[in-house]
């Protein structure tokens, strides 16, 4: 397999409602990524896009609907969709276009416009549940998180305040992010603990917001990196992905085995045998605060049940030994499902190429890992990047 680098990235503002259409959002993020990489569409061999359910937009063949905005016009093109896992998986799809030798330069564009769905995108999220076993119970998507969070908290005897620290950290980290929707420099653990109970144990400030937005990255082969004289390529060192059974009521939700499987696949490729020592920072997928902790454990960055302790001790702060979500994550920057590629793959690129501005981790970093997660608590996608 050939080496693959990220050589540019772009991102729109993340907001509850944006005026632009999906196509226009794709164009804005793509244009920015191309400009930052110093390439034009004529240089791009293949385009990959990612977006979550068609039902948000009310338009089927959504990938085709917005494809003009991705620069896909008369090029090899595909859309990938693996639920919430799409935010990192589309970058994996971009990677294999180049690693295989089929393309030298690829553009990966992820978009989500959740505000079109009225009165709230929750109404169509219900379509992910099994129509016969689950849907008669009129489930809300937050139930998934509440049930998983409760199991995780109970098994490890974790206090809610130790989970709330993640929301505080990420919303504060997001203050340095120019696209952030919910940055808050003054938020406290008490604010989270006193926020409205949505579905116990989930409270309002445990949750990332629905958003509109787009993000894009440009990827290149080693040959193209040399030819373009890229000064700060960030290499895709390892990729992994895995799905668990949709029969989610048949497995113990306290630990995401499928994330661990995806991580092991990525670490093997990246020649990492001690992730806690060899990985300098992480962008674990954080649609809810406990998910960052759950994913730190799934990514084998600590022992089961240890993530809340590392968080309490400050290890995961931006200047700590293992910074997590230096971008501000989904909790602080926003959660336009697939477009969170901007805080995951985008942030690894910006941090490792020294372009993260106010969010830059103050010490030397060489290797980072990001993951995304989705469907009925069953999909893990993992990317390791390094310089």
């Amino acid at each position: 397999m050939r080496k693959v680098a990220v050589i540019g990235a772009g991102m729109t503002l993340f907001r509850r409602r944006l005026m632009e259409t999906p196509k226009e959002l794709c164009f804005e993020a793509s244009r920015m990524a191309l400009d930052s990489a110093g390439v034009e569409m004529k240089d791009v061999d293949a385009v990959i896009s990612g977006s979550a359910p068609d039902a948000f937009d009310g338009v089927h063949m959504k990938g085709e609907y917005y494809s003009d905005g991705c620069g896909a016009y008369r090029k090899p093109y595909m859309r990938v969709y693996v639920g919430g896992g799409t935010g990192v998986f589309s970058a994996i799809a971009g990677w294999y276009h180049i690693a295989s030798g089929l393309a030298d330069i690829a553009l990966v564009v992820n978009e989500e416009k959740m505000s079109s769905c009225m009165p709230h995108p929750q109404s169509v999220f219900a379509y992910i549940w099994d129509p016969i076993l689950d849907r008669p119970l009129k489930p809300n998507l937050v139930w998934i998180f509440a049930m998983e969070m409760n199991r995780y908290m109970t098994i490890h005897n974790i206090k809610k305040e130790d989970i709330a620290r993640v929301a505080v950290k990420n919303k504060r980290n997001a203050v340095g992010h120019p696209c952030a929707q919910l940055a808050d420099p003054n938020i406290t653990v008490d604010d989270v603990l006193n926020s409205e109970v949505m579905a116990w144990p989930v409270q309002r400030l445990d949750i990332s917001p629905p958003s509109d937005g787009a993000a894009a990255v440009v990827m290149a082969s080693e040959d193209a990196v040399k030819k373009l004289k890229v000064e700060t390529p960030v290499w895709m060192k390892g990729v992994g992905w895995c799905i668990d059974s949709t029969m989610w009521t048949d497995r113990d939700l306290y630990f995401p085995e499928y994330v661990a499987s995806a991580a092991k696949m990525a670490y093997k490729m990246a020649k990492i045998d001690n992730p806690r020592k060899q990985i300098d920072f992480a962008e674990p997928y954080d649609p809810f605060d406990y998910k960052e902790l759950h994913h730190m454990e799934g990514l084998l960055l600590c022992k089961k049940g240890e993530a809340p302790i590392l968080t309490r001790e400050g290890v995961t702060q931006r200047d700590g030994d293992l910074p997590t979500c230096p971008s501000g994550g989904l909790l602080g920057v926003g959660n336009p499902i697939a477009a969170t590629m901007g805080q995951k793959i985008g942030e690894l690129y910006w941090q490792l190429s020294g372009q993260a501005g106010k969010r830059q981790i103050p010490h030397e970093i060489k290797t980072g890992v990001a993951n995304a997660w989705g469907d009925l608590m069953q999909y893990g996608s993992v990317v390791v990047m390094g310089v």
Binding site: R17, A29, R31, V142
Partner: protein, 172 residues
């Protein structure tokens, strides 16, 4: 990623939409579905109507799978036979929801979670409601029993069970 540059995106407020200050168009889809329940779940639903829970055995994995399926996703072989289970189980996890399915706030919370069913392989269960509990009495690990709707009202649906309630002492 300089911080001074203009990042793309034009924010709208909900007032912009409600006050129709922006050009927009609206659409109400009318999609309707009728799902065939399939081989395994049809039998499962028909047994619910009789007030019974049923699973399928995978002889290869030595597991009783619940909810039942015609093939085992782990060994990827057909399952072999039907097995009746008890209508008791254990709360694996739960939530107390103040949100309805459309994320609207409700004041009378819904107790919901996963109950693993006695007789099935460990930790295999279904999502369902819990009743006759309070936020102070419900706990993970609690033994529960199905409260069935009266036979005449059962339709062959997971809602033929109204909810799972705490198992009383000496009860089976």
């Amino acid at each position: 990623m300089g911080d001074t540059k203009q990042w793309p995106g034009i924010e709208l407020s909900s007032e912009d939409l409600i006050g129709k200050k922006v050009t927009q168009t609206r659409y109400h889809p009318k999609a309707q579905y009728s799902w065939a329940a399939g081989e395994a779940i049809s039998r499962f639903l028909n047994e619910l109507k009789e007030g019974k829970l049923i699973g399928r055995e995978c002889k290869h994995c030595k597991k009783i799978l619940f909810p039942p399926r015609m093939f085992c996703e782990q060994c990827f072989k057909p399952t072999s036979n039907w097995v009746y289970l008890k209508d008791t189980g254990t709360i694996q996890t739960y939530s107390i929801s103040y949100l309805d399915k459309d994320a609207r706030r409700i004041t009378d919370p819904i107790f919901v979670g996963v109950v693993s069913i006695d007789g099935a392989t460990e930790k295999m269960g279904i999502m369902h409601y819990f009743g006759e509990v309070t936020k102070d009495t419900i706990r993970i690990g609690m033994k529960v029993k199905a409260r069935w709707k009266p036979a005449i009202e059962r339709t062959g649906s997971v809602l033929d069970i109204e909810y799972f309630r705490p198992l009383k002492e000496g009860e089976q």
